[in-house]
Symmetry: C2
Subunit: 348 residues, 2 copies
């Protein structure tokens, strides 16, 4: 199990201090998918731009990543990207279809498909290095969080050919062909680690590894088929000193295992209160999340009460980063997010 042992310098951001178990006067706040469709200025920029083109354009990445920082005064920026970007960068045929998600031209089916998953080098993603460097300059004291999808979630897209409700092909491969599964996840872990290292080398202050679909697994399956590969992404990054956040929705049964994979901070959805999450994670745990995104559509009095509850329950952990329990829904009124930031900042 990884515990946050880094000594955070007093000049470090609130986010890095919270992530390393040195809480400040209030929890730092950011929102998953804050850089995205809830903002009219984002929709205007993306109007004539395909998602994967936007994710490879340093100017657009920079602008989209900055938008929510300017508007909401959040305590961290999340690097605008998509989890399939490193796979596209090594040459896989993937399209992001609006309303559907990533669609893969050739599903992963056999050993022969392994060869297509070559290692990723910094030269494959110059736009990432350029955008991170530009952002670090623009953001000043606001930390930038790097972004990558975890091996299991990437594997599910490759094996299913796109988003899946039940991950049936993926689980059949995992259980039925465990050696091939291990090879697939090894390759994806190498790619993911390299993709995060590029972001760290360019200056991100923290990273978040999104295992979006891990909540579809039992703990036994997660520990056998997924955890070793997420660990091989996260553990080597410990030496960089950059805090590692790890999140998947619906992972109440997996929280301790996801921490054991090498996370300094574990993201929690709205189903498990933060005090219970801290209990499951054990001593020294730092948590992030828990505000139900659906609450954003309730009257402000309800939102305010829920924000206060989350902050209060977060005190049970050794550190707390305020966030939603999942991404910002596209229909969200951005002003509600701005008010939440103000409220959390007032709760010292």
């Amino acid at each position: 199990m990884s515990t946050p042992e880094q000594a955070a310098p007093s000049s470090a951001s609130l986010l890095v201090r919270a992530a390393t178990g040195h809480p400040g006067p209030y929890p730092p706040v950011w929102f998953m998918r804050q850089a995205g469709r809830s903002l009219p200025e984002y929709r205007a920029l993306r109007a004539n731009q395909a998602m994967l083109d936007a994710c490879r354009d340093p100017g657009l990445i920079t602008e989209i990543t900055l938008q929510p920082v300017r508007r909401h005064h959040v305590d961290a920026a999340i690097f605008f990207s998509d989890i399939v970007v490193p796979l596209v960068a090594i040459g896989l045929g993937i399209d992001i279809v609006p309303g559907t998600g990533p669609v893969i031209d050739r599903r992963f089916e056999s050993e022969a498909d392994l060869d297509r998953l070559r290692e990723l080098t910094p030269d494959d993603v110059p736009y990432i290095t350029e955008a991170v460097k530009a952002l670090v300059g623009e953001l000043g004291g606001t930390p930038l969080i790097g972004f990558a999808g975890a091996p299991f979630t990437l594997a599910s897209y490759l094996v299913e050919g796109g988003p899946s409700k039940d991950h049936a092909r993926t689980k059949a491969l995992m259980h039925g062909r465990p050696v091939l599964w291990g090879s697939l996840l090894n390759r994806l872990a190498v790619i993911t680690r390299a993709f995060l290292q590029v972001q760290i080398d360019a200056g991100v202050a923290a990273i978040q590894l999104f295992d979006s679909w891990a909540g579809a697994l039992s703990r036994a399956d997660y520990e056998r088929f997924v955890l070793p590969h997420s660990r091989s992404v996260l553990e080597p990054l410990a030496a960089t000193g950059v805090p590692r956040i790890h999140f998947g929705v619906g992972t109440g049964e997996l929280l301790a295992s996801m921490r054991a994979a090498g996370a300094d901070v574990v993201g929690v959805d709205w189903r498990v209160p933060l005090d219970e999450a801290a209990r499951r994670l054990g001593p020294g745990a730092v948590v992030q999340g828990n505000l139900d995104p659906a609450i954003l559509f309730a009257p402000w009095g309800v939102v305010e009460a829920e924000v206060r509850r989350v902050v209060e329950q977060g005190r049970a952990a050794s550190g707390h980063i305020f966030n939603l329990g999942h991404g910002v829904p596209p229909e969200t009124d951005p002003d509600v997010l701005t008010r939440i930031v103000e409220l959390v900042h007032s709760l010292s």
Copy 2:
């Protein structure tokens, strides 16, 4: 909390005995959605028949309900229906759109919409009474399980207008207009209780209340906004002596609360092993479920090992009904289900 206190007569079915804490030589087996699209004989019958028409045709209901019993030799039949059937029966405009699910013509939005949710009487659903009676005759010693959707899940369809990923409108109404929410769920509980009473009066041996979407809720929200209404469906049915099964997918955090709503048997998805589910439910608990439906697509050796694991872990509970952790996927090879029944029956 409800504990199974009924003394099951020795002539009772394996299912009723297991449900009341009197296990037999092996766990009774049935599969959620066993009556449905995985069977070619079902697809042939439904080829020119809309779902809601099939659900109101006593001959079709009877035949479709019997098909998996004949084919798989399961230990229980599940009444073929859809959770919106009682709402259609009281006159709401609902269509079941293939590939989408139930679509509501007028969303539930305000007090004025409450009047449309009138009480349901047996005369509204003569086809249900007729089909249950026919089935009880045809099934002989095999018990028939009655079927209904729980108030929260029905409310979500009415408020969202159809299936929803995040239940944002529903949660906003629940939190933002709690009095209207209470009135809505009261009405739906009255309708649901009456719909189950019709089935009990016609002779079902057990009932299952499906709260398909309850897993989208935190326990705090479930206990405040949902549990009292599920209880007002289930508690009054205790007097009938018919065992009450209660299930929703992704409800690992809610298991004890769902039992407290008045369930004799609590359904468990694949994320929580049955021994852990029994621990969460407390003394005297009877469990159902847990086999991951995605496992049905793995090689038989994997399926067999998982079936044995589920049966073994089910021994930790006071009773165990073997089932999947969710419905049978449409693409399932029906022979795998037949083999699972044979295997469970051999594990005495």
